[in-house]
């Protein structure tokens, strides 16, 4: 695609056509004091050698040699070099949105396979070509439920990722959507009794996450029945996709919103990751974004096209189902390659390793005097511990030992200042779990 900037003469011609004297005149609606008159304060250009040097220095700031026990929505998992080899192929890496089926069969087939995998994992009938990430997918799922139910109240569990809830609140703020939060129990699960008492026929959706932010698995069937009883939809968010290798898929959900980072995308500052939205076939026309569909060409051969795109912004403008303008095709491809390499058995094995290692870790940590399991609900690869002192103080000491300790829950949950969220995956060596437990024990044995 060529991009040809306008010449000064063409600009003048355009200005004359619309009756404006200058380009500045077009910005007059912006108050004078907000307009920029100086050049942006940016450093000057660098030579290639200087740019490479700059990035080498920044790369050196990465926490190499550290062992991390952080999860909370972003997970360290094994990934194969094959994934990157395929991603880096120019046909995928630099391809544009596959609007033209005749030149985009590879990308479209990859998206179609991604959708198929997501349906198989989530127990749903239809999945779209991907969303930005788990948080925006969750919000889009709520907006979808709002359109389907024609109602404006939403019940969201506090055990849903705090950042997912923040994104939802941002969307809800000026849209008339009313979001109510539901607390958690001693087991660390959403308070189902509070959901039941808050459910009325004005509720569009109940939103829960499983495994939830505390790492605990929610019991979905009861919540689904309660929601369906008043005509509300159940939205299930999943932040850790690998859990689906060990946990029953949330088939009772009406919409599943998932973060696909765990499938072949390394943890990186700010992403990019990929969101998933999957639902029932009958709800497909309220699904945001686009889908790749299988069809036959004029010669009767199997082929793929973008479908449902008729409801997107470039066609429907302000009447579009969503303001998402694209999808995460390359990240979705990473997930597709990764899952295809792993296979059904591989994913199950990986998930089982997470369960065993997390069980081993909690056993080691619980032996430390003053360290307690915070919630008694079942968990996958993350769990919440209560420590006898502030988690931040413990973490400062752990960093000296090259250990990134548990996530301090106090920031998002003021009632949990002594609580930390520990994550252990198949990548965490047993010896590192033991070193971590020993370090915590040592720190706590020192007086404050």
């Amino acid at each position: 695609m060529r991009y040809l900037p306008k010449s000064p003469a063409e600009r003048q011609e355009m200005l004359t056509a619309i009756g404006a004297k200058s380009i500045e005149e077009l910005f007059e609606t912006i108050p004078e004091k907000y307009r920029l008159h100086d050049a942006l304060k940016l450093p000057g250009p660098l030579s290639e050698a200087e740019v490479i040097d700059y990035f080498k220095q920044r790369a050196g700031e990465n926490s190499l040699g550290y062992t991390s026990f952080l999860g909370a929505g972003v997970y360290q998992h094994l990934r194969s070099v094959i994934t990157d080899t395929i991603l880096l192929r120019g046909e995928f890496l630099t391809s544009y949105t596959p609007y033209q089926a005749e030149i985009s069969q590879g990308t479209l087939q990859a998206i179609f396979e991604f959708q198929t995998l997501m349906c198989q994992l989530t127990g749903q009938e239809v999945a779209n070509a991907s969303m930005y990430d788990g948080s925006t997918a969750t919000t889009e799922a709520v907006l979808m439920a709002e359109r389907l139910a024609g109602r404006g109240r939403v019940l969201v569990a506090r055990s849903v990722h705090p950042e997912y809830r923040e994104v939802l609140r941002t969307y809800a703020k000026n849209s008339g959507l009313h979001v109510e939060e539901i607390g958690y129990t001693k087991s660390g699960t959403v308070d189902a009794a509070s959901i039941k008492s808050a459910l009325r026929d004005d509720v569009a959706a109940v939103v829960v996450q499983s495994p939830n932010f505390f790492g605990v698995l929610e019991t979905l069937p009861g919540i689904a029945d309660a929601a369906h009883g008043v005509g509300a939809l159940l939205v299930v968010a999943i932040a850790e996709g690998v859990s689906l290798g060990a946990v029953k898929p949330p088939a009772e959900a009406d919409i599943v919103a998932m973060e696909a980072q765990s499938f072949g995308l390394p943890p990186s500052y700010g992403g990019p990751y990929a969101g998933v939205i999957a639902s029932r076939d009958k709800f497909v026309r309220q699904m945001p974004g686009r889908l790749a569909g299988e069809t036959t060409d004029t010669e009767g051969k199997r082929g793929f096209v973008l479908t449902l795109a008729t409801r997107e912004q470039h066609i429907r403008r302000e009447k579009a189902t969503s303001n998402i303008c694209t999808n995460q095709a390359l990240c979705a491809l990473a997930a597709t390659v990764h899952l295809t390499l792993l296979g059904k058995e591989g994913l199950r094995e990986m998930a089982e390793q997470n369960v065993s290692k997390a069980q081993f870790a909690i056993g080691e940590l619980e032996k430390i005097p003053g360290v307690k399991r915070a919630f008694d609900g079942p968990f996958f690869n993350e769990f919440t511990l209560e420590f006898p002192r502030s988690v931040r103080m413990i973490n400062a000491e752990l960093l000296k030992e090259q250990i990134a300790g548990p996530l301090a829950l106090g920031t998002a949950f003021p009632e949990l200042t002594k609580h930390g969220l520990v994550c252990v995956t198949e990548t965490t060596p047993r010896t590192e779990i033991e070193r971590f437990a020993a370090a915590v024990k040592n720190i706590l044995s020192n007086p404050l």
Binding site: R285, T310, R311, I315, R316, K319
Partner: protein, 133 residues
Amino acid sequence: MAYPANYRYTKEHEWVNAKDGVATIGITDYAQSELGDVVFVELPEAGKKLETGKSFGTVESVKAVSEIYAPVSGEVLEANPALHDKPETINSDPHGAAWMVKIKLSNLAELEKLMDSGAYETYVAAKGKEASA
């Protein structure tokens, strides 16, 4: 396809067939030919009040999703249940089997503001010239 003489038409290409205070509404042959193959229709439920000029549903073709605007105001008595499974009827029989809703008219005078078949044919013919110009 001929435009029935007893129908009334809008500039947005809907037709109205009014009889005994009840109006049957659909989209015209010109509208269906512009849309292309129709794959889905969204229609209101019985009891919904339509306001003149406001959107009351959508028609989805392989090319686009378009709004259907109410030519007259009134309350929906029935939406055509057959269109859900056979939306392609809109392409094959737009003025007959592919009626969309039947409404109880709230203001009979509104019908007078709509075009008759002759005026609509002239309007559509002018559109055709515009497109080929």
